[in-house]
Amino acid sequence: MADRIRLRVGRYRPEMESELVYQEYEVSFDKEWVVLDGLNYIKDRIDGTLSYRWSCRMGVCGSCGMTVNGEPKLTCATFLSDYAPGPVTVTPLRNFPVIRDLVVDLGDFMRKLVRVKPWIVREVERPLADGEYLQTPDELDEYKQFSMCINCMLCYAACPIYGLDPKFIGPAAIALAQRYNLDNRDEGAEERMEVLSEHEGIWGCTFVGECTKVCPKHVDPAGAIQRYKLDAALASIKSYFMPRGV
């Protein structure tokens, strides 16, 4: 049975507004409807000028992250019925510059992500004729959790440290660096550590822990950062007591 709910949507049209304004829409919805369905209903039936990002509608692409009633959420995985009788306030992700309405600029993250080299680094590549780099299930389990990141940016929106200091490299970039560090095929940990041991790297994190709470894929970026800190501290102590190595 269809019900009705009010959506209070944050609008920013640079040619018209200098700050976020709210526009209310009433939409009918079924219990299977997610917030993104509500936005699509508005776009298709009520107001075609509304701008937002989305793609897969199944929690895989990470495009539809927005702030729903103050919490960073994937709008394709957030049911309208959970907010009944409403209203549901939808605003852009926090801590990012807003381009238009619910669309934010992710350029800062993209530039930081490249710096941590989120790919397998090999000192010497084996020839193709030697076959695959084989891996056991246990070796896969070491990094699998961190490989689930979909770059949805909810963790950056939830992180007050990133909001206060945009130079902080941020949760997802560090979790993805850890994903490759823990991969036994990778040999790039030292190169990544050069970037991550900067002040704006792992040490910028004060372990608020919100990144882990809001992550829709259970990646645990906060855990990745604290593990990195522990590894860095142990490596530092080791180099102090054993300057020539083992």
């Binding site: 920013y12 640079p14 200098s18 700050e19 976020l20 103050g70 926090r94 801590n95 510059p97 807003v98 381009i99 238009r100 600029d105 350029g107 246990d138 389990d141 070491e142 007050p160 909001g163 206060l164 004060t206 372990f207 608020v208 822990g209 919100e210 882990t212 709470k213 645990d220 906060a222 855990g223 604290q226 593990r227 800190k229 522990l230």
Partner: protein, 147 residues
């Protein structure tokens, strides 16, 4: 014409990023009271001051014991002040909060392997609490057993 080097501004045909009038929303000074978990985090950070206070307090006690009976009695008189008792009571609550949040967070940072198997995080957390209980019991036994 397509740029040859989109990352450089030195070339004559360098790509110029399109910068529309972005809306930047600054973080409020009071961000830490806008969400319960943020407030809990700030309390945890604040608890470090009380950890520092107890370190100073303990070192002062050690120094008083080292300096003899008069210094020790003076330390006890100082400790019996209402203000110091109140400070230590609040400090104790913060220390407990600090310890609990630290132990709850520890399994996220500490990944322990036994052979090839990874220990469950719950077990790592439980080991911390067990260690805390053992140390507390030993301290209590030393203090109470000394009488």
């Amino acid at each position: 014409m397509l740029p040859t080097d989109i990352g450089s501004h030195a070339t004559p045909h360098a790509y110029t990023a399109y910068h529309p009038r972005w809306l930047r929303q600054p973080v409020s000074t009071y961000w830490w009271v806008q969400k319960r978990s943020y407030f809990a985090f700030i309390l945890r950070e604040l608890s470090c001051l009380f950890v520092a206070w107890f370190v100073v307090y303990l070192l002062t006690l050690v120094r008083a014991i080292n300096e003899g009976e008069a210094a020790y009695q003076s330390f006890l008189t100082f400790s019996a002040r209402t203000s110091v008792l109140l400070l230590n009571l609040v400090g104790f609550l913060f220390i407990v909060y600090h310890a609990v949040t630290f132990f709850d967070a520890a399994p996220q940072a500490l990944v322990v392997h036994v052979g090839r198997k990874r220990l469950p995080s719950g077990l790592v957390g439980a080991a911390h609490y067990l260690g805390w209980m053992v140390v507390s019991t030993v301290v209590a036994w030393v203090l109470l057993g000394a009488r």
